[in-house]
């Protein structure tokens, strides 16, 4: 039976929520923007009035001001946006239990069986748009198709406040002329590879042989071929099912460029403690640590290394992160942002007993850090801090877990 999949995407979500709660912003160009003093000064979301001036998400504030001198900058209220996501999803749950969020402002819905035929999908999509506008005061764009990838393409097609349908019978005419970069999971670097191979549209991709794509991109090439040809069969997850977590990481743009190793150590320690705490919270340990470093010229690198044994203690993660940094970054070269990620996760319940002293030490440290988790849960993250962090509070005084809400994305791909 043909599936009926909807993809619902809130239009300019952060900006829409801000203008709902602050009517004085409506009709004027404004953008939700980070704090330039903390060097997080980029546009996070803009409204349609600002968009008309060419302001784009990710623009630095100075550029946005240049493009639109009258633009108003509004600080973000992430807790408000996160709270606002829930009533939207509650409306979706009234139609189906197969509701899979994709970030705060997007959701897939599988309404197969809720309506007798494919045409009913548009009816549900239109009703959802109307209800969300009436009950919550924001608009969404909805896409209706027979798989998740095309449903998302459809919702991206017309904004704001519109429903677009891509039925099986006409998907080639609709989808194949679109730029290959519009296809889900074709990011900038993949699009550049395709550009070099003269693959410019989704149709070009669909009509390239699977073997050729596999030779260029490995398994991923085959997945994209399936997507382009309408063979995506990934299910929409049921409400309450946990996404598979592949890795846990934290990164931060620094309040000032760092050149001294002692300063970098402080940041790595803060990030490692956060990653370790989150690993423990989810019941994981990691085998591999990956770091990312961005320089002041905005070039960036990622490097990874294996731990001696799977662990979730911050010292092990920190030491590996530091080792990777000193091996791969020229001493003294300014650093603009840093990230630490724990990969190759396994469940903490699988814990090999070891006679090796170093592994026993790791396990002892994990126990100590579990006690610290309990104290921080009760009294706040600053109740116990490492001595090194007191050396420079302007660097260590951040809480990656609450200051930078993260999305843990799962990527469930169709089997080839």
């Amino acid at each position: 039976m043909e599936r009926i999949i909807l993809h619902c995407d809130c239009n300019n979500f952060y900006a829409s929520v801000e203008s709902l709660f602050n009517p004085k912003l409506r009709g004027r160009p404004f953008a939700v923007a980070g704090d330039p003093d903390q060097r997080h000064g980029i546009i996070l979301a803009k409204n349609y009035e600002a968009k008309r001036y060419g302001v784009k998400t990710g623009n630095p504030l100075w550029l946005a001001k240049q493009l639109c001198p009258d633009i108003i900058f509004v600080p973000p209220h992430f807790d408000l946006y996160m709270n606002f996501s829930q009533p939207i999803r509650n409306i979706y749950y009234e139609y189906t239990d197969r509701v899979e969020p994709y970030g705060m402002d997007e959701c897939w819905l599988d309404v197969t069986g809720c309506v007798p035929a494919f045409d009913g999908g548009k009816m549900i999509a239109d009703e959802l748009r109307e209800r969300i506008k009436r009950e919550l005061g924001i608009t969404i764009s909805a896409g209706v198709s027979f798989n998740k990838v095309f449903a998302k393409l459809a919702s991206d097609y017309k904004k704001p406040d519109a429903t677009t349908v891509i039925p099986y019978e006409s998907f080639r005419e609709f989808v194949w002329p679109l730029p290959v970069g519009d296809l889900l999971f074709v990011g900038r670097s993949t699009a550049r590879i395709f550009e070099r191979k003269c693959i410019r549209t989704i149709g070009d991709l669909a009509n390239t042989s699977r073997e050729t794509l596999k030779s260029w991109l490995g398994k991923w090439g085959e997945v994209l071929w399936l997507y382009a040809n309408g063979y995506d069969s990934t299910p929409v997850a049921r409400f309450g099912s946990q996404p598979e977590i592949k890795s846990i990481g934290n990164s931060t743009t620094l309040p000032r460029d760092l050149t001294e190793l002692e300063e970098v150590k402080i940041i790595f320690m803060v990030l490692s403690e956060s990653v370790a705490a989150r690993l423990r919270k989810h019941g994981f340990q990691c085998e591999t640590v990956q770091i990312s470093i961005r320089g002041t010229d905005l070039s960036w690198i990622e490097r990874q290394g294996k731990l001696e044994a799977p662990s979730c203690d911050s010292t092990s993660i920190y030491k590996k992160a530091l080792e990777l940094f000193t091996k791969n970054w020229v001493p003294g070269k300014p650093v603009r942002s840093l990230g630490v990620r724990g990969c190759n996760l396994s469940s903490r319940q699988v814990c090999q007993l070891s006679l090796m002293k170093s592994v026993q030490q790791i396990q002892r440290r994990e126990k100590i850090e579990e006690v610290l988790d309990g104290l921080r849960f009760r009294f706040g993250n600053k109740i116990v801090v490492r001595g090194t962090m007191l050396a420079d509070k302007s660097l260590s005084d951040m809480d990656p877990q609450t200051d930078y809400p993260h999305l843990v994305l799962s990527t469930v791909h169709s089997q080839i």
Partner: protein, 86 residues
């Protein structure tokens, strides 16, 4: 005609055995209390005029129908008022 704004007000409500919240009376700036004669409709709605969303109660007060909103994000009640008043 002034643009509309949002005014938070004090409300007394009862909670029935099924968890329904029903407003009974409210107080205005003049210190006077006003009885809500009857709740005619309850539904979730956004107030673009006031700038918010919540459960919108259509109430009969002194013979006239008025909207009262219960903002379940912040557990406060608000009404739409001309902006010079808010």
């Amino acid at each position: 005609m002034y643009p509309m704004g949002k005014k938070y007000i004090e409300v007394a409500a009862y909670f029935d055995t099924e968890g329904k919240i029903v407003p009974v009376m409210f107080w205005w700036d003049d210190g006077k209390s006003y009885q809500i004669d009857r709740v005619l409709d309850i539904r979730r709605a956004a107030s673009l005029k006031a700038g918010g969303t919540g459960m919108r109660y259509t109430c009969r007060i002194l013979g006239k129908e008025r909207y009262l909103y219960y903002d379940d994000f912040t557990n406060r009640w608000f009404v739409e008022v001309p902006d010079k008043v808010s």
